[in-house]
């Protein structure tokens, strides 16, 4: 069968069994060891049963893999307690993919990740929101997805409305919210639950200036409680302000790493952009 898989869990064979992972040092919240991710794209992504049957009758190899590309190659990194981790790189360098791997959305093709703590992803604003439901119900639903019970979430609801200033819209279905309100609610939920690890992807772009300032303060507040934050952004100034460490990705490979100022400056120099 050439439905090749990134991670194989075949019930009939355990020959591709991976060795037991070696733990990282105790202060590492997220550790990645040799994480690679391969995307296979097929000419016809919607491979059909009909076609499979025809292929089987004609003894053809199926389906042809159109392209096979490594979105991430041998990523090894450690994110420790108190790290504000910025990821920079050009479009298509694998930044968002890396974040999705950290959020457990994409299982790595090889290597492994070790987590210590609760991960709250803010990959895309309002992931898991149901537009038919009210703001309040969405807080419960989202909280449940992040691993909190209804009761725990009800206690946090006040704080969330306090922060977003959306209390008067609490019972309004989310589909009537503006995009800024949406963003605010999503950010407030993810940060109110106080995850040990918060992943943010470009999410500070929307929202007005006042909210962005508040959000930045809140991320700093999260750090004071010794959590880790991973931020992917093209806003170099914001990264310099909020992060202390960073890496640079190029075509799925880490090419630079260290204090955020150095990483950002090197990156800007290399693309011949003025420093910020």
């Amino acid at each position: 069968m050439s439905l090749s898989s990134p991670t194989k869990t075949r019930w009939f064979s355990d020959s591709d069994r991976k060795p037991a992972p070696v733990p990282f040092e105790p202060d590492v919240l997220i550790g990645l060891r040799d994480v690679s991710l391969r995307f296979l794209s097929y000419h016809d992504k919607q491979y059909s049963l009909k076609q499979a049957a025809v292929d089987m009758v004609l003894r053809r190899q199926a389906p042809p893999v159109a392209s096979d590309f490594w979105a991430l190659k041998n990523i090894t990194m450690r994110i420790r307690k108190g790290d504000r981790f910025g990821i920079v790189g050009a479009n298509g360098a694998g930044k968002s993919t890396l974040l999705r791997v950290l959020a457990k959305i994409y299982p790595p093709s090889s290597g492994f990740i070790q987590f210590r703590g609760n991960v709250a992803p803010l990959i895309e604003m309002g992931a898991g929101f149901n537009p038919e439901l009210s703001g309040k119900e969405n807080i419960r639903l989202n909280g449940a997805m992040l691993g909190f019970t209804r009761k725990e979430m009800d206690e946090k609801t006040d704080g969330i409305f306090e922060f977003t200033g959306l209390r008067e819209f609490a019972d309004l279905p989310l589909k009537y919210y503006s995009s800024g309100m949406y963003t605010r609610l999503a950010f407030a939920i993810a940060s109110e639950v106080e995850p040990e690890i918060l992943l943010i992807d470009e999410s500070l772009g929307t929202g007005d200036a006042a909210f962005i300032t508040k959000a930045k303060q809140r991320i700093k507040g999260l750090l004071d409680r010794s959590n880790a934050v991973v931020i992917v952004s093209h806003d170099m100034k914001a990264l310099k302000e909020m992060c202390n460490r960073g890496i640079r990705l190029e075509r799925g490979v880490i090419t630079d790493g260290g204090p955020i100022d150095d990483v950002v400056n090197n990156y800007l120099d290399s693309i011949k952009a003025p420093r910020v």
Partner: protein, 308 residues
């Protein structure tokens, strides 16, 4: 020899030392540590045991999500219409009225309590076909969620099963009262209905898991499924009685849905206890279905996100 006999405690100590920590072993990680992907244990049985244990943990952790999704889906479905839940009853009532008229008046298959017979087979069947049809598309239609947030993927088929189960139970009890004037009476064997419904839901869940896996990789599967369900419907004695088939009746046992439907009909229409053998067959079929569905789903779970 002698020291071991004389000092059992000393032996136990050395044994435990040997088994837990050779000098070169890596430091033991703190309790919350979690690996992704989860390391595979040695051996197939061990591996599946670990997968099951992991899913049990996940089920507890994500049960509120399932609860939320089910209750909210039901609410969204019903809150906008004044008649709410009654609308879901309309469909089976109309269907049963039509079929009763066609069969008892036009085709002249007059039979005592045909409406109740029809009800006993039709409502469970609607649950089965609804679940399978919805499960077929549940992974694909939740693409947005799957690509943005981590959730165990079995949540989606499970939610579909539960939503349909709730609708099934509600319409079952409501229709039963509606059919009161036609001779529907509560009987003692109905105490067994929860067991039968439970087994039937497990059966539907297994099929749903298998179909949702298949449809994620082969996109035309969903359409085949609905055609297949139509054929299956006519092969199952729902609108006709089993004895109508004459000698071919024995072959009905090849139909995995037959024991379930038969039990529903025996309990609801005849008011009798079903055979123990039928119950055993249903239990066996349900567990085989769930087993196959679960293994198929879990074996392909990791690949699904790449195929959306």
């Amino acid at each position: 020899m002698l020291p071991r006999l004389g000092d059992p405690h000393g032996t136990a100590k050395t044994m435990s030392q040997v088994s837990t920590s050779p000098a070169s072993a890596p430091p033991v990680p703190p309790p919350h540590t979690e690996y992704f992907p989860a390391p595979a244990g040695p051996g197939i049985f061990r591996r599946w045991f670990e997968i099951l244990a992991e899913d049990r943990r996940q089920l507890i952790r994500f049960w509120p999500v399932v609860q939320n999704m089910v209750s909210q889906e039901l609410r969204v479905r019903y809150q906008r219409s004044v008649m709410g839940f009654l609308w879901t009853l309309l469909n089976p009532i109309l269907m049963m009225t039509t079929l009763t008229l066609v069969f008892s008046q036009i085709l002249d298959m007059r039979k005592e309590g045909y409406a109740i017979f029809l009800f006993a087979g039709m409502v469970p069947w609607t649950f089965l076909s609804g679940t399978i049809n919805e499960c077929a598309f549940c992974i694909i239609s939740n693409e947005g969620l799957i690509r943005k947030i981590y959730l165990p993927k079995w949540i989606f088929p499970l939610t579909r099963v539960l939503i349909n189960l709730v609708t099934f139970l509600l319409s079952m009890s409501a229709l039963f009262f509606i059919l009161g004037p036609l001779g529907a009476r509560p009987t003692l064997p109905m105490l067994l209905l929860p067991v039968v419904v439970g087994l039937f839901a497990i059966f539907a869940c297994g099929l749903g898991l298998a179909v949702s896996t298949a449809n994620t990789f082969f996109r035309d599967c969903g359409h085949l499924v609905s055609v297949f369900l139509q054929a299956w419907y006519f092969l199952t004695p729902i609108i006709y009685e089993a004895k109508f088939l004459g000698a071919a009746q024995a072959r009905l046992w090849l139909n995995p849905a037959y024991p379930f439907i038969k039990m529903f009909q025996t309990i609801i229409q005849d008011g009798l206890w079903p055979d123990l053998s039928t119950l055993a067959a249903a239990a066996g079929i349900a567990s085989v279905s769930l087993g196959i569905g679960y293994v198929a789903f879990k074996s392909n779970e990791d690949k699904m996100v790449f195929r959306l």
